[in-house]
């Protein structure tokens, strides 16, 4: 049954690359959405089965081995799927939010031709299939299939408008940067096989649990660091986050699917999946926490000044992913996954909301040209507002619960500096998200009279031909889009209530208790569970409440600052920007990271490639060797061909002389 979950979207992909190309939009989009909805149904029933099963070694799980994939000596890798609490959450998120995004896309992509429409949905389905393989795989190689597959699909989807140079470049960038991470992932995988002789997650966890916790740089530390390199590539962390902001070149629902709900969380999921392994490498965890925290802060500051609506959301995604890694790094695996889960709702909502805005404005993405859309796009506005409140960490919405859990866990594990940075990031998050909200929906329309009538924006290519007269009433989200927005908005509010902090309601953090068995080594059941609540009791409820209040105040302060600057007095923002001109420019240019990478890595590689590898090695050495071989053969041939005279008697003579010589040799030797 588990194999059906990724298989359904894959069948949808097969349909859309073959028959779908020639069928109408209703058919191809309908099939794509239906298979996702079916997959969601199967996922729900799989989770139901899992919940009803007898716990083995303290973990409820359902497994299915499809076939033996690689069997060679002691290595035996089965194509096997496994649903345990952790992956159950992931498949529900991927199929559930995936379905909504498919539904939304049927309206959003309606301006495309039938064939492009089918192509879009085939990629989208293929992506979902690979993502499900990734989260369901019960061993590293199976996860790696999905890992690479989503990388491929992100390339295809980011470069969907492939006739546009910036889009195809962004696709390539995402692919190449991901390859760098994958290189680390493969090396980490190989070193784990060398160490444990197995690549099964259960086997590795059992093997790692038997080893002592490493105090210094050891094999475990190195291999987990390599795995983390893979995670930084996939999940857009320092130093490999650069692809994600550029990935906004893809259609907006793609950004919602890939860069909010699914693919970028793969790195977080991978660490959660190997929680036991990472727990035995404290140095790696330290690195994960610091990298996550710095990424969160850095992306937050960049997000503060960007003007492209999707880019702000992109940096906010990078920043929120940083939070998740911070949680993983301090050992709060459940907290990280909880944030992953709530983030999937509100970030998908925000991306889809921005898509609705872009759709209504026929491809306009620059927030400086928006404004005053509150009354024109009511559905979009109210859902977007909910998403913004959720991500800003306003109490009673989902983002508050998960973010607060991370902040509290960071503090409780003694990482005060990281906690302070994370609080600062929370402040920045609230500020830039409300800046986005105010610039887009409040104030007055700043759209130039001629801007979209001419359809000059590149994204209008997908639009409605730019035939709308300016000043006409803007169309709010069509029904398919509105449904997705509303459902996600409800989710953004409600999703957090599975993880109410224990300090407020005792035992309210049900998600932690639910996920906890997934982070334990198999077999190490009762002893640890007995210990966990004891540690829980250690939690100083008073401190937690105080911190919660503090972070709430910080979030409100962030909103307040945004209100003061960007709503009340937009000219003040310009003044501040002018006052800190250098800083503002640095942030606007994203700390010049792209430029630094270009100068430090890309240009040297180009120089070496063209100067040494091309002209020296290829043209000189390799071509030279081949040409020399040819010349030598030619030279000798010129001499030897004189022997071929054409005279039959000369040939006969040579045969005769040869025979005599050979016979002579044997007779007189």
């Amino acid at each position: 049954m588990l194999a059906l979950i990724p298989l359904l979207p894959f069948l949808g992909f097969l349909f859309n690359v073959t028959i779908g190309r020639r069928s109408s939009k209703g058919v191809s989009g309908g099939v794509a959405t239906a298979v996702m909805a079916l997959a969601f149904g199967v996922a729900v029933s799989a989770v139901w089965t899992m919940l009803g099963s007898e716990p083995i070694g303290g973990v409820r799980a359902v497994e299915q081995t499809v076939f033996s994939w690689i069997a060679s000596g002691s290595l035996d890798i089965a194509l096997a799927f496994r649903v345990d609490p952790l992956s159950s959450l992931m498949i529900l998120v991927v199929t559930g939010i995936g379905t909504l995004i498919h539904l939304y896309s049927t309206a959003y992509m309606h301006g495309e031709t039938d064939e492009e429409f089918a192509r879009y949905f085939s990629y989208l389905n293929l992506f979902a299939a690979f993502m499900l393989v990734l989260v369901l795989g019960s061993s590293f190689p199976v996860m790696f299939i999905g890992w690479e597959g989503v990388g491929l699909c992100s390339y295809l989807l980011i470069g969907f408008y492939y006739t546009k140079k910036s889009a195809s470049d962004a696709g390539k960038k995402a692919f190449i940067v991901n390859r760098i991470g994958d290189f680390g992932f493969i090396l980490g995988m190989l070193s784990l096989f060398w160490l444990f002789g197995t690549l099964d997650f259960q086997g590795i966890a059992a093997g790692a649990a038997a080893l002592p916790v490493e105090a210094t740089m050891g094999v475990l530390t190195v291999s987990t660091l390599l795995l983390f390199l893979g995670a930084t590539g996939k999940s857009a962390q320092l130093p490999l986050y650069v692809w994600l902001p550029d990935a906004m070149e893809g259609p907006t629902p793609v950004s919602a699917l890939i860069h909010a709900a699914t693919m970028v969380t793969a790195g977080v999921y991978m660490i959660g999946r190997n929680a036991v392994l990472f727990s035995h490498a404290p140095i790696t965890l330290e690195v994960v926490a610091v990298v996550g925290c710095l990424t969160a802060l850095m992306a937050g500051t960049i997000g503060l000044v960007q003007n492209d609506i999707k880019r702000v959301l992109a940096y906010s995604t990078v920043s929120q992913l940083g939070y998740m890694f911070l949680a993983m790094g301090v050992g709060a695996f459940a907290g990280g996954i909880f944030h992953l889960y709530t983030h999937a709702f509100f970030k998908a909502l925000l991306f889809l909301g921005s898509g609705a805005v872009i759709h209504a404005l026929h491809g306009e993405q620059d927030m400086r040209h928006m404004g005053g859309l509150k009354n024109e796009l009511p559905v979009t506005y109210y859902t977007f507002l909910i998403g913004t409140l959720a991500i800003a960490g306003v109490p009673l919405l989902s983002g508050f619960f998960s973010k607060d859990e991370i902040l509290w866990q960071t503090f409780a594990h003694g990482h005060t500096v990281l906690w302070a940075l994370a609080i600062l990031t929370a402040f920045l998050t609230a500020t830039y998200m409300f800046r986005l909200l105010y610039m887009t929906f409040f104030g007055t329309r700043r759209t130039p009279a001629h801007a979209h009538a001419g359809g000059d924006s590149a994204h209008a290519a997908h639009g409605h031909g730019g035939g709308h007269a300016h000043g006409a009433h803007l169309h709010d989200a069509p029904p398919a889009m509105a449904i997705a927005l509303v459902v996600l908005a409800v989710g953004s509010v409600a999703a957090g209530y599975v993880g109410i902090p224990n300090a407020i309601v005792h035992g309210g953090n049900r998600i932690e208790a639910y996920l906890e068995p997934s982070f334990r080594a198999p077999g190490a059941a009762e002893a640890v569970t007995a210990e966990a609540p004891a540690a829980e009791a250690h939690h100083d409820t008073g401190t937690e409440m105080a911190l919660m209040l503090f972070s709430t105040l910080v979030a409100l302060a962030g909103i307040g600052v945004a209100t003061m600057v960007f709503l009340r007095a937009p000219e003040r923002a310009t003044a501040i920007a002018a006052q800190f001109g250098g800083l503002h420019r640095t942030l606007l240019n994203k700390y010049y990271v792209d430029e630094i990478y270009d100068a430090a890595i890309v240009q040297p590689i180009r120089k070496i490639s063209s100067g040494v590898l091309w002209r020296g090695v290829d043209a000189g050495l390799i071509d030279g060797t081949v040409n020399a071989v040819g010349l030598v053969v030619r030279g000798w041939s010129a001499v030897l061909r004189r022997l071929q005279t054409g005279s039959v008697r000369a040939y006969a003579m040579s045969v005769f002389v040869g025979t005599v010589a050979i016979l002579g040799y044997y007779l007189w030797r």
Binding site: R641, R642, Q644, T645, G646, S647, R649, A652, F656
Partner: protein, 103 residues
């Protein structure tokens, strides 16, 4: 009285015949004569086989000779056909006229 011929006598005769045939192949300038010389060489070999067969009281020598004769007949047929074709082509039977198949 003529002495009884020994194996050596036959071998001597055969060697002489073979040498004559070889010299014919290399020295004559007429393709038909060359073919005839080849036949002489083949028959020199045949003589050796028959003589050796008799000397060793074996029938195999004679069997091989039949094979050689068959092949020789076939070779003569094909060879003469080629010679005729060549003559039609160049109006000549001198092998030195046919040297264009070279580098």
């Amino acid at each position: 009285m003529i002495p009884e011929p020994t194996l050596n006598s036959y071998l001597m005769l055969s060697a002489v015949l073979f040498a004559i045939g070889t010299a014919g192949v290399f020295l004559r300038r007429n393709l038909i004569t060359i073919l005839l010389s080849v036949e002489v060489m083949l028959n020199a070999v045949n003589l050796t086989f028959v003589a050796a067969g008799r000397f060793y009281h074996s029938v195999e020598g004679q069997i091989i000779v039949f094979f050689v004769m068959t092949v020789a007949a076939a070779e003569a047929a094909v060879g003469l056909a080629i010679v005729i074709a060549l003559f039609r082509h160049r109006e000549s039977l001198n092998p030195d006229a046919f040297t264009s198949l070279k580098w």
